[in-house]
Amino acid sequence: MNGERKYWTFHGGVHPEFNKEQSTRQPISPIKLPKRLIIPVQQHIGAPTEVLVASGDKVFKGQLIAKMAEGELGAPIHAPSSGVIGKIEKQAVPHPSALDALCIELILDGKDDWGKSQLAPYADFSHIDNKMLFARIEETGLVGLGGAAFPSSVKISASKNTIETLIINAAECEPYISCDDLLMRERADDIVIGIRILLQLLNPQQCLIGIEDNKPEAIAAMQRATASLDKVQVCTIPTLYPSGGEKQLIKILTGKEIPEGGIPLDRGLLCHNVATSYALYKAVVKGEPLISRVLTITGDGVKQPQNIEALIGTPISDLIAQAGGYTTHAQRLIMGGPMMGITLKNDNSPMVKASNCFLVASTTSLQQANSIHASQPQMPCIRCGKCMQACPANLLPQQLYWYTQAKDFERVSEHNLTSCIECGCCDFVCPSHIPLVSYFRFAKSEIRAQKIATKKSDLSRERHEFLEFRKAREKHERDEKRRKHKAALQKKKAIMAAKKKRTGENDEENPKADAIKAALARANAKKAARQTKDSHTNTSDDDQAKADKIKAAVAKENARKIAREAKKES
C-alpha cells in the first residue's frame, strides 16, 4: 500500500448529474421470492445454452437447468430457487434488439430448497487446486456483471500467469446506478475474498481497485477490507463519465491505451467488475452458482428508489413493486443508466445476469436541471467541436456526423467510427441536440451490412472465377485425353500395319488361313450374286409400272387436247 500513485487521464468525458443519492438512502433489500421466474437461456456473450429440463419438472435451487453448448462460448444457467418448470417458450427479454428469446419459466414453490444441488463450499480456498477453482467458475455460470456479461471462466483461464495488473472496476460512472457502491459499503470483506481468489488464480504483480471519488463510504470500506493485502490498492479516481469504461479505467490507472480490436490481456492486464468478484466469492466459498445479484431500482418513476438483491429471472414488475411501485412520473423504463441504457417497452420481461439497474423516470427529470425544455428541437450542426472535446475515444463526431448524413461510409470508416464506444458524451454536450449516437449506430450497421455484402459478392465472384477455371481445366483435360487416345490409336494402327506386313510376308506359311480366306471369298461371291439377282427383278417390275403410268397419262392428255380443240371449232 504505497501512498501516492500516479494517475493518468483520458481525453474528453462529461459531468452529467449523477443522481446516485436517490438510491443510496437505504441498505440493500434482501431477496424476496417472487411467484415465478422467467429465465432466458442466453444471458451472456456467446451461444445460447441447451435446456436440460422439461415442462413439469421439479427442480431444486441451484440445479443446472441449461448447459453450455458444446464447444461454444457461454455460461450455464441454474435454477435460482426451487419449484416446477412451467412453459419453455419465446418471451420478451431486456435486450437492445427487442426480440423475443427462449426462456424457461419457473413456478416457485416458496421453499427455496437446495435439495442436493448445492456445490461443496470451499471455505478455505487457498488449499484448493487452481484447476478445481477454474472448474468451479465455469460450472457456476459466472459472467461479467458490469453489463457486458462476458463468461468469466473464459476471461480468467485465458489470463493464467500472464497478467501483470488485475484491475477491479468499481468506478460505476453511469448516473443513477449505485449497486456496486452499496455492495462495497455492505459487503467489502466478501468482495475482497473474491479478489483474493482472483489473485490466487492469476498471480498478478498488483491489483488496483478503481473507485470514483463520489463514493467515499465505499472507498473507506474497501480500504479497510484490503488493508492487510500488500498487492491490492484502492485507487480513488476523479468522478468523470465514462471513467468506468474498461479502456478508460485502464488508461486512468496504468496509462496504457488498449487499441480498437485489442483486449487488455495483450498488455498484461485483466479487468473485472467488483460485483463479479463478489459473485466469485459466493461461487467458491459458498458453493452458490450465479442465481442472484444486487441491482438498483431508481428514478422519480418509482416510489422508493433503492438497491435490491434479487433472483435472476425476477420479472421487472416484481422488482418495481418491491421498490414501492410506480409514481405518476413513470414515463421511461430503462435498463442501465441514462447514458448507455436501453429502454424497455414494458415490465413483463425479467432481470438477467447483466441487469445492474432499472431506471424509471420522467423525460424531464432525465434532462439536466438547467435545461429549458425537456426535448429541444434538433438543429443543424454548427461544428462547434464540443463533441470532439467530450469524446473519450478522441474521435471527430462532427465529421462522422457530416459523412454519415451524406452516407459516405468510406469516409466514416476513415474517421475510425469503429473506435466509437457509444458512451453518449457527444450527444450529451451537443448544443444542437443532434442524436449523434443514433447516427453512429446507424452508420455502424450500414458499414457492417456493406461488409457482409462485399464478402458475399467477393465469394460469388471467386466461385464464378473458379467455375470458369474448372471449365477451362476440364476442357483442357478432355482435349488432352482425346489427343492421347488418338496418339495411342495411331500407334496401335502402326503396330497392326507392321504386323500385317509381317503376316503378309509369311502367307505361304499359313495354309489354314488361306483356306479360310478362300472360303470367305466364295461365300461373299455367292451372296453378291444373289443380291444382284434380287435387285434386278425388283427394278424391272418398278420400271414397267412407271412406264405404263406415263403412257396412260399421255393418252389422257392427248384425249383432253382433242376434246378442247373440238369445242373451240364448234
Binding site: 478522441n394 453518449g424 451537443c430 444542437s432
Partner: protein, 349 residues
Amino acid sequence: MEFKTDNSPFTGSASTIGRVMRQVLYALIPGVLMMFYFYGWGILINIVLAILIALGFEILSLWLRKRPLKPFLADYSAIVTACLFALSIPPLAPWWILMIGLFFAIVIAKHLYGGLGYNPFNPAMVGFAVLIISFPLEMTQWIRPEFNAGFVPSLFDSLRIVFTGFESLYSVDQWDAITMATPLDDMKTELKSGHYFSEVMGTSHYGFVSGKAWELISLAYLSGGLWLLYKGIINWRIPVSLFLTLAILATFFNWLTPDTHQSTLFHLFSGATMLGAFFIATDPVSASTTPRGQLFYGACIGFFIYMIRTWGNYPDAVAFSVLIMNMSVPMIDYFTQPRVFGAKSREES
C-alpha cells in the same frame, strides 16, 4: 405497464446554439461601446439597421426554403452575422450598402448553401468582400474619431446621412474633411509615398502603437475575446496561431527595415486583427474543426493578413484571408484527424 422506447443517451446538456450565439454577442459589447465612443451614432445605426435587414432576409430565406421560423430565428446566428458585418463597415455608410452586403451575407453565402451549419464561407465576410470590391469609396470613408475632428453628428443628422446621403448636410469637400481612411489604410498610403513609419506614427491621429481610436477599440475586442475564451465558447488555437504568425512576420520585416514596415504591435492593434481573430476566424461553421487543423488554419490566416496588408491593394486583409482559408477547410480537416484512442502515435509506429 407500457412505456415509450427511445435511444440512449436519455440525458443532454442545457446548452443551445442560441445560448452560444448570445454569448458571442455579449462579448462584442466592449468593442461596440468603444466604437460608439469614437464614432458616435453611426455605429449604433449600423448595428440596428443591420439586425433588422438581416432578420428580414433570414425570414425571407427561411420562408422560401419552407423551413420553420421559430427555431432558426431563436438561434441568433443571423444577428451575430449582422453585428459582425455592421462593425466592419464604416459608420454612417449609406443604408443600401448594408442592404447589398447583407443580401450577399444572408441570402447568398448562408441560405443558398443550405442555411445554418452548411455555409462554407463566413457570411459576414462574404458581404464585406463583395462591398469592398464593388464600392471601395463608400467602404473606406470612415468619419474621423470625434475627439480628433471635434465634431460628431447628432442622432437625427446621422439618420439623415445614412438614409439620404451626406449631400443633404455637407458639401463633398466638407465630407472629405470629416472622413478619412482608417489608420491601417492611411499608413499604407503614407509608407508607399515614401514616409517613414516612425514619422507617420508621430502625426496627430496615431496613438501609442497604432491609430488613436483603433488601438483602444482593438483592446476592447481583445477583452471580449478573452472572455469568450474563458467561457469556453471559442478555443485558443485559432486566435493564438493567428497572432503568432502575424507577429513573427511583422517582427521579422520590421527588424529588417523598420522604416518601411509597420511594427508588430501596429499590426496586432490595427484594423480587424482583434475582431477577426476572436470573432470572425473562430466562426465554427466555416473554420477548421480539428485541433491541429485549427492551428494551421489560424496560422495561415495570420500569414495572409500580413501578405495582403503589406503587398496587396486592399486596406485590410482579414476578410480575404478568412475567405481563402474557408476554402481550404475540408482538406485541412481531412488531413489533421487527431490520434484516436489506442492508436499508435507517429513516433511509436
